[in-house]
Point group: C2
C-alpha cells in the first residue's frame, strides 16, 4: 500500500565507514537518499527510491519508517549494500575516499512506483545521468525536479549530464563542480550559464560559507551557522538539499525568491544538525523547535536595514 508522496527522492541508501578527528565508525547508516529523506521528513511526506543488499539492517529501515518515510521504492536485492569508506582531516572540508564498494548499487535501475509518478517534487540524487534521464521519463511533466551530481559524472558523462540538466528546475552544485561543468571560473557567471541551459535556479553550495540561490530574477544568500562542534560532515550537502526541498514541498509550487531564501535557511538549519554527529544521529535529534531556533540565529546574523544615515564623507 503506498500513496503519492509530496517529495520523491532517488538516490543511494548506503553503509558508510567513516573516520574523522572525532571518531571512527564502521558500516553506519548513510547515503544521499537517507540524509535527504530524513531532512525532508521534518516538513513533508517523503518517498525514497533506492536499492539495498541482503546485509542492510532492518533497524535502519525501521528508523526511516519511523520518520514517516514511505519505503515502497526501496528494493532489497541479492548482493551487498553500497558501501563507502573514507575519512576527513584538519578542517574536514574534503572527504578522502578509501574505498567504494558499489554492490547492488552497480545495477541500480530506478523504477518509480506508479503512485510516485505524479509527485509534485522530485530530488534526483547523485547517480549516473542515464539513470536520472530514465527517472525523468517516468514522471508527469508537472513535477518540479531538483538534481544533484558530482565531479565524476561531469568528467565522464558531460553530454548526458547536460541533457538531464536541460530538463530540470533546480540544480544543486558546489563551486568546484560548477566551474568544471561550465568551464567558467566566476561563480555568478557560471550560474548564468546553467540558467541559460534550462534550470530555473542554481543552488550553489559553499560548504562552511553557506549557500546562494541564483535565478533569473536575482540571487538570495544564507551563511552557514558558526558551528564549533562539527564531528562528521558526511551527508551535509544531501541534508541541506533534503531540508530545502522538503520545505518547498510543504509550501506548494511557489518558487519565489522569498520562499527559496526560507528554504535556504531550513536546509542550513538541518545540515547544521547533521554535521554535529556521525551518521543520521545529529539529524534525528532535530525538532521543529531546534529548526526554528537555528533559523532565528541565521536571521540575527544577516538581517539588517540599509542604514538610514547620510553618508557624510567626501563625495
Amino acid at each position: 500500500m503506498c500513496k503519492t508522496p509530496d517529495l520523491v527522492i532517488v538516490g543511494s541508501v548506503a553503509l558508510d565507514s567513516v573516520r574523522t578527528p572525532y571518531g571512527e565508525h564502521e558500516r553506519i547508516l548513510g547515503g544521499s537518499a537517507c540524509y535527504a529523506g530524513v531532512a525532508a521528513s521534518y516538513f513533508t511526506q517523503v518517498g525514497i527510491v533506492g536499492v539495498i543488499g541482503r546485509d542492510f539492517p532492518q533497524a535502519h529501515l525501521d528508523l526511516l519508517a519511523s520518520r514517516g518515510i514511505d519505503l515502497a521504492g526501496v528494493h532489497r536485492q541479492d548482493g551487498t549494500t553500497f558501501h563507502w569508506k573514507g575519512y576527513y582531516e584538519g578542517a574536514m572540508d574534503r572527504a578522502i575516499t578509501v574505498d567504494t564498494h558499489l554492490g547492488v548499487f552497480e545495477s541500480f535501475s530506478p523504477d518509480i512506483p506508479e503512485d510516485y509518478r505524479s509527485a509534485p517534487y522530485l530530488f534526483l540524487g547523485n547517480i549516473h545521468p542515464a539513470l536520472q534521464l530514465r527517472v525523468l521519463s517516468q514522471l508527469t511533466e508537472k513535477t518540479i525536479v531538483a538534481l544533484d551530481t558530482m565531479n565524476y559524472w561531469i568528467k565522464i558523462q558531460p553530454d548526458l549530464l547536460h541533457d538531464v540538466i536541460a530538463k530540470i528546475d533546480l540544480l544543486f552544485i558546489n563551486e568546484a563542480e560548477i566551474q568544471q561543468l561550465t568551464g567558467v571560473k566566476n561563480l555568478p557567471e557560471a550560474a548564468d550559464r546553467i540558467l541559460k541551459d534550462g534550470p530555473r535556479f542554481v543552488v550553489l553550495k559553499r560548504g562552511g560559507h553557506g549557500a546562494t540561490v541564483h535565478g533569473a530574477e536575482g540571487v538570495v544568500a544564507a551563511p552557514a551557522l558558526p558551528l564549533r562542534d562539527v564531528k562528521d560532515p558526511t551527508g551535509a550537502g544531501d541534508t541541506f538539499a533534503g531540508g530545502f526541498l522538503g520545505y518547498l514541498a510543504q509550501s506548494g509550487p511557489d518558487l519565489s525568491l522569498e520562499r527559496l531564501r526560507e528554504a535556504l535557511w531550513m536546509g542550513t538549519a538541518l545540515a547544521s544538525h547533521t554535521v554535529q554527529d556521525f551518521s543520521l544521529l545529529g539529524l534525528c535529534r532535530a525538532s521543529s523547535e531546534s529548526i526554528f531556533q537555528r533559523c532565528r540565529q541565521i536571521a540575527q546574523m544577516v538581517n539588517g536595514r540599509v542604514p538610514n544615515v547620510r553618508i557624510t564623507g567626501h563625495e
Copy 2:
C-alpha cells in the same frame, strides 16, 4: 596645517604592476593605505601615514587629496616607492607575486603626527608587527584600533604579532591566516581563540563568499555581491576594511553587532567597486547612491523572516 582625522590609516602607499585576464598595467597607484583611505573617505575624515619615494607621481597625491584625505603623515624620502608586481589567473582568488621591491618602505618607521594621536579610530595596515607596536605606543588609549596582517608575519614574527593583537579592538584576517595564526581549523573556534587574546571582534574575510564578524555577543554575516565583471581583485581586502572602519568612524564609538553588520555591508559595497577595475579606478567611481544601491542589493539577498508556518512533517 593638519587637524585630527576621525580615522588614521597606517600602511603602504605603493605602485603596482598587475596582470589579470582582463589586462596588464604598470606602476599604477596601489597600497593598503590608499585603498583603505579612499574607501573610508566616503564616510569620514581620513589621515594617512605612509612613505613614498622620489618617483611617486604628484598626480596620485592629488587624487588622494581630492578625496579630502589628509596627507600630513605621508613622507617623501630619497629612494623608490614600494613596488609590487604580480598577477592573477583563473578565478583570480589568489595573487601570485612576481617581485616585491620595498624601496623606501624597507626603512618605514611610522611617526604619527601629533594631531593624529587622539584620533578615535586607527587602522594599522599590514606592516611589521614591531612597527605596529610602535604606532600603538604613540596613541591615546581611547582610540579604537583595527589591525590587518598577513601570512608572512604570522610565520616569522608570531610572538610579536600576538603582542600586538592583545592590544587591539578589531582584527581583520582571512581564513588561511586565522588557521595559521591559531592552529585551529574550525573558523568559529579559531575566532573564539583570538577573542580570548584581547580583541573585541574578529572580522573574517572570506573573499568571494563574503565576511563574518565574530564577537562575544554573537556573529553577524554578509555575503559578497554576485559580480560578473571582476577585473582586478587587488586592494579588495583593504577597501573592505577601509569602508568598514570609515563607516564606523562616521557612526561614533558604537560597536554594537547591528552597527558592525552595517559596516560589513558598506565594506562589501565598496570592495565590489574596487574589483571592477584596475588600481583605484573602480573605487573612485563609487558614490553615495551606488553604495546605498549595493547595500539594498545585499539586503534583498539576505533579509528574510523566519517562516511563520507550522512545520507539518514528521516530528
